[in-house]
């Protein structure tokens, strides 16, 4: 497992930064962390589908990350199905982490499976632009 900060840029988590039903102010939108490990559970639901990934810390401990993403309808519009990600899958999740790094919690931007399959979300464009509105269409500021 590798947890690495792969991108950092100036950004503000504004209250208008909506994700289906609430602000994303909890998460450090100026930081992207790559969580690599084994999917332990997927809660396919709305307003947040939640993905759990067991990953190893640098000290060798295994921890479980709780990674939130968008409602099921938004994932389906990006090509996901209920079976896109299953327990046991090896995957890397690029996330915006929760501001307290001791809490293994984050907001999903993109998943890359071991076979190279990329699962996009409406927030994948934030890998390159932390201020980008969710696609498609974009919400107003």
């Amino acid at each position: 497992m590798r947890v690495a900060i792969v991108f950092a840029a100036a950004a503000l988590a504004a209250a208008s930064d909506v994700a289906a039903h609430h602000s994303l102010a909890l998460f450090s939108t100026d930081t992207v962390v790559a969580v690599r490990g084994t999917v332990s559970k997927v809660d396919w639901r709305s307003p947040h589908t939640t993905i759990f990934i067991e990953a190893k810390e640098p000290d060798g401990r295994t921890v479980e990350w709780r990674i939130e993403t968008t409602p099921t309808s938004w994932l389906m519009s990006e090509g996901w199905t209920r079976d896109s990600l299953k327990p046991g899958d090896q995957a890397t999740a690029d996330i915006n982490p929760y501001s307290d790094r001791n809490v293994k919690f984050g907001w999903l931007l993109r998943v890359t499976k071991a076979d190279g399959t990329i699962l996009r979300t409406r927030f994948t464009n934030r890998l390159t632009d932390p201020n980008a509105p969710p696609s498609p269409g974009g919400a107003t500021p």
């Binding site: 809660d43 639901r45 947040h48 498609p136 974009g138 107003t140």
Partner: protein, 253 residues
């Protein structure tokens, strides 16, 4: 003599009754079908109308009391954490698909977002008027066809802490939202105006467009645990502050 007096009275009565019946029948009759645009269908969100300036935030239009409210408001108190649905115009600004079903006397609008169903009562069909105290989350919507447009006016909203915008710009019970939908080729277009004199200094416009889709709407099925989980991570806890109820002073922008 009696017959001579009674006959004109009878004729006058028939004319009066017939006239009143005609008025009532006219009031119940649907608008001419020739003037009704076909908006029925499933619509996929595209975003703001192409070629127009982007929609702007309503925050610059907000009165000082609304700005003060938004600064004091605690995120964890949002009704959305309890799966409570949003209302127009916020509903229009969210990236979800929806369906329009046009019926003789009403228009049904079903949204993926929060599984919301709105009923728009078409004018001229004798629907019961809304009661003085009938305030609801989605408000009371009436509609009419004007040319190629469906015009919807919605009032009677309850107070909503994010009734104007997700940045906690609230709406009062005086909010009025006017939506105009029309077809432009295969696309569905909307212009909306939100008025709320207690909150906004000027009407707040939105414009969006959709394209037809064939896949069914995806049920939202809001999960209360998933909806409320994030609350525990907010550290501000403004609502626990005894001074929280004092809105911070804000100069009128």
């Amino acid at each position: 003599m009696k017959r001579l007096v009674a006959a004109p009275l009878l004729i006058v009565s028939i004319v009066v009754v017939a006239g009143e019946l005609a008025v009532r029948i006219a009031a119940q009759a649907p608008a001419s079908t020739a003037a009704i645009p076909n908006l029925t269908g499933l619509w996929k969100r595209r975003g703001p109308i192409e070629g127009r300036p982007p929609n702007t935030s309503p925050v610059p239009l907000a009165r000082a009391r609304a700005i003060g409210f938004s600064r004091a408001f605690d995120e964890v108190l949002l009704p959305g954490y309890d799966c409570s649905p949003v209302a127009v115009p916020v509903l229009l600004n969210d990236n979800y698909n929806f369906e329009i079903v046009q019926q003789r006397d009403r228009v049904i609008m079903r949204y993926e977002k929060d599984d919301i169903v709105r009923t728009v009562w078409l004018a001229g069909h004798g629907h019961p008027t809304v009661g003085v105290y009938d305030f609801t989350i989605q408000g009371h919507s009436t509609g009419r066809y004007e040319g190629n447009q469906l015009v919807i006016e919605t009032t009677k909203f309850v107070f909503d802490p994010r009734g104007i915008h997700d940045a906690y710009i609230p709406s009062s019970t005086r909010k009025k939202v006017t939506e105009r939908y029309w077809r432009d080729g295969s696309r569905l277009r909307l212009e909306s105006i939100t008025e709320d004199p207690l909150v906004l200094k000027a009407p707040y416009p939105y414009h969006f467009e959709w394209e037809p889709m064939t896949t069914p709407l995806v049920p939202f099925d809001c999960d209360p645990e998933a909806s409320s989980f994030d609350r525990q991570f907010y550290e501000t806890k403004k609502y626990q502050d005894p001074d929280w109820v004092r809105l911070p002073p804000v100069e009128e922008p």
